[in-house]
Amino acid sequence: MSAAISVRHLTKDFRIGLRGLKLRAVDDLSLEIPRGQVFGLLGPNGCGKSTTLKIVLGLVSATAGEISILGESYATSAARRRTGFLPEAPYFHKFLTGRELVRYCAQLSGVAAGDLDAAVEDALGLAAMSEAAARPIGTYSKGMLQRIGFAQAVVHDPELVILDEPTAGVDPVGSAAIGRMIDAMRTKGKTVVLCSHLLGQVEQICDRVAIMDRGKLVLEGAVEDVLARRDRHVLTVEAMTPAARAAAEAALEAHGAKLTSVTHPRRSLEDLFRELVTGSRDA
C-alpha cells in the first residue's frame, strides 16, 4: 500500500513585498509518511512545517515538486474526505457553539445525516468537550479551542489526521490529554501527522520523526533508531555504596569497559507537574 503522504522534491517560494523578493519556505523536501503510524514533523519556527502541510492539503500551491496524499496525486475532494486537519492557532466562528461547529464540519465532510448526531457526540467525547459543547466558541480558552479543533478534525472518522501544533498554548495536563487522543487514533489504525514543539511528548507518542531546518529535511527515521546511542549503556542501581561503586568499576575495567559517568536519575518537570496538579478547570 502506498504511503499516507509522500512529498518529492517539494519547493515553495513566497513572494514578499512589491518588488517580488522571494522567500524559500520549503527547499527540495522529500518525505514519506507511512500509514498507521504517528509521525512527528519537527523543526524551529519558520522552517516550513505548516507550509508543507498546507501544500499537501492543496491550500497553498507548490513552486516545484510533487506530492501524493492517500494515493491521490493532489488533495482531491475524495482524499480530503478521508483526511482531518487541525490548523495551527485555530480559530473558529465564534458565534457558533462547540457542538454547532463540529456538526457544521461533519456536514461539510460528508457525514451521512443519519450518523450525524452519533458522530458529533463521539468526537466531542473523544476531545473531552461534551460539557462545554453548548457554549459559544467565543468564550473558549486556548486549550478548549485546540480540543474543539481536534473534535472537528476527527468527526468524520478520517484515515489521516494532520495536527499542526495541537498543544500550542495548552497546559501540561491538557497536552497529556491531547497525547492520549493521538494514541487512541493510532490504536484505531489511523495515520497521524503531528507538528509540535513539545519534544518530550513527541518522543513519547511518535513512531517516526522528521526534523526540518530552513525548509530542508535534516533527519528522518524511527524514533527508536534516531535516539538510541547503541555505543552507550545506562545501568540504574539501588542502594549504591562507595565500595560497591569501586568494585563495579574494577569489574568493568577488567573487561575493557569504562564507567564514564555516575548521576542520579531525574524525573521530568512534566512528571513532577502532573504529580502535583490535578487538572485545569476546563479539562
Binding site: L59, S77, R81, L86, Y91, C105, L108, G149
Partner: protein, 277 residues
C-alpha cells in the same frame, strides 16, 4: 438533494447567521428604517400624487443607498473574516470546492440583503398606505383623486433591487477573491458600484458616433464589463403606478441582471481557485 448544493447551503447558512449577528447589519437596518419612517413627516401640500411620490422617493433612496453600502461592506467583511481568521483554512481542507465556498458566501449575503429589503419595503409600504388612506379621506372632501399605491409594484421593486444587490455582491466577491485586503475590496467594490450606476452615461456616449477607435473600444469594453445598475430602478415607478413600464422591459432587465450575476460569480470562482489560503 445534491451533495454539492447541500454543502453550499450549509456555508450560506453559517454566513447568514454571522451577518445578521453583526452590529453593522443592525445599524444599517435601523438607519434605513429611520429614513423610511421619517418620510412620514414629509408634507408637500398638494395632497395628491406628488406627495406620495415624494415619500416613496425619499424612503426608497434610503433603502437603495444603505442596501448598496451593506452589499459592498458586508460581503467583503464576510469574505475576509474567513480568510483573516483562518477559518477558511479549516473549511477548505474539507471536501468542499472553492466554488462551493464562494457560492455559499454569495447566497448567505444575498439572503441577508433579502431580509433587509423586505423589512424596509414592508415599512415603506405601511407608510405609503397610511398616508394614502389619509389622502383619500381628504380627497372625498375636496374632490381631488389621489394616486394609488400598488403592493404588486412594491413587490416588483423589491425583486429588482434584490437582483441589483445580487449583482453587486457577485462583483464584490470577485474583487475580494483577487484582493489582499478588506480595505482594497471595499474601495474597489464601491468604485464598481458607482461606475455601475453611471454606466448608462457611457452607454449613451457609445450610441453617439465617434472618430476615435480607441475611445470607441474603451466604451465598448466598459459598457459590457460594468453592468448598468441604474436599469434596476426601472421598477420604482411601479409602486405608485406613475409611469407605465412594459412587462418585457422588466423581464429583459431581469435576464441581464442574472447574466451579470452568473458571469461575476464564475469569474470570482476562477480567481478564488488559484488563491493561496
Amino acid at each position: 438533494m445534491n451533495a454539492s448544493l447541500r454543502r453550499t447551503l450549509w456555508i450560506s447558512r453559517v454566513t447568514f447567521l454571522e451577518a445578521v449577528r453583526q452590529r453593522f447589519f443592525a445599524f444599517l437596518l435601523v438607519l434605513g428604517a429611520a429614513m423610511v419612517l421619517s418620510s412620514v413627516s414629509l408634507r408637500v401640500f398638494d395632497f395628491g400624487h406628488g406627495e406620495l411620490k415624494f415619500i416613496a422617493d425619499f424612503g426608497f433612496g434610503g433603502m437603495f443607498f444603505f442596501g448598496s453600502v451593506l452589499a459592498v461592506v458586508m460581503t467583503a467583511q464576510l469574505f475576509f473574516s474567513e480568510i483573516d481568521n483562518k477559518t477558511a483554512l479549516t473549511l477548505l481542507a474539507k471536501p468542499l470546492s472553492r466554488a462551493e465556498f464562494l457560492l455559499g458566501k454569495f447566497f448567505g449575503a444575498w439572503a441577508v440583503l433579502g431580509v433587509f429589503l423586505v423589512v424596509l419595503a414592508g415599512l415603506q409600504g405601511l407608510v405609503l398606505w397610511a398616508r394614502e388612506q389619509e389622502l383619500i379621506a381628504m380627497a372625498e372632501q375636496s374632490g381631488k383623486i389621489p394616486a394609488t399605491f400598488s403592493v404588486l409594484g412594491l413587490g416588483q421593486l423589491v425583486l429588482m433591487q434584490w437582483l441589483r444587490l445580487g449583482v453587486v455582491i457577485a462583483i464584490v466577491l470577485a474583487i475580494s477573491a483577487l484582493a489582499r485586503t478588506f480595505l482594497f475590496a471595499v474601495v474597489v467594490g464601491s468604485l464598481a458600484v458607482v461606475a455601475g450606476q453611471l454606466q448608462w452615461i457611457a452607454q449613451d456616449a457609445f450610441l453617439r458616433p465617434t472618430d476615435s477607435q480607441a475611445y470607441a473600444a474603451f466604451l465598448w469594453v466598459s459598457t459590457r464589463l460594468i453592468p448598468n445598475l441604474q436599469q434596476f430602478n426601472l421598477a420604482d415607478a411601479l409602486v405608485l403606478g406613475s409611469a407605465a413600464v412594459e412587462e418585457g422591459a422588466l423581464i429583459a432587465v431581469g435576464f441581464s441582471g442574472l447574466a451579470y450575476l452568473v458571469a461575476y460569480l464564475t469569474l470570482g470562482a476562477l480567481i478564488f481557485r488559484r488563491r493561496e489560503i
